[in-house]
Assembly symmetry: D3
């Protein structure tokens, strides 16, 4: 029953997100030995002014 | 002090969300014996290309 | 497909948590018109030194 | 390696968010003795119909 | 800068978790075209009385 | 009404966590102009085998 939340910078295409959930589900299913049917993934887009590293917004890097 | 985060598929009306937070707050208050005043709920809408089950995006089902 | 995360102060019994997930699932199913089968709930216990309101830890209140 | 998620009511300016991540990063770095470089912050805006206290949506207060 | 949170049922070995983070990082890096260095993963173990599907705790299934 | 979740490596003292929530609450209150009373902070400890950067568990670095 792995529940996955992935926050990533906005701008990726639906096609990239399609590949992302397929590959991440496979990776989880193989490594922790669970059925793919049990994997739930939530994606969240982040604008660059909503992510900061070392106190600096991504949009200001 | 329960803090609740609910990710749900987009498309629900404000009226449905009004009923949702009222009923969920009641359910929590009754079952874990806490004041309704202490319950905080965050709702997040998910587009169908941001939720996946068994490696398949909701929009592709 | 609502995915729910509930952080609550530790100390509740399994019986209370059993009632909590049953009632919250019902509340969600009724209000946003989705099947109970589609509701996933994650519970997380918080010790009182891991929750703060107004800058004060719960254990210091 | 602190990872911080801050959900806040929408309406703040990028300038306020710039100050927010700078000050929160400093506060964390000073108090738990870690390098600022290791602090990651995710911000999420909440519309007033996506936050509820005591079972009442913010937009209905 | 993908930030990933994975809640999974407790009981997996450190070796399984080692493989999990390696494979998930690869999956993300390949699909959304970002450097592996930028992928952060948080794992959280769930006891079976902290996960519910369709209103039923995992431990009661 | 900012709701803050901070995942940090385990090992910090309650005293450090006390200072952490005080300083983070101040930082938020000052920068986004909200009352300290409205700031809620959840802390979560991460063992080093539950945090990964670039596909490598912290405990393996």
């Amino acid at each position: 029953m792995p529940i996955v939340q992935i926050d990533l910078l906005e701008g990726r295409t639906v096609e990239q997100k399609r590949e992302l959930v397929t590959k991440v589900t496979e990776a989880i299913s193989e490594s922790v030995n669970c059925s793919k049917d049990n994997v739930t993934i939530i994606l969240r887009d982040m604008p660059t002014h909503h992510l900061a590293k070392a106190g600096v917004l991504k949009c200001d890097e």
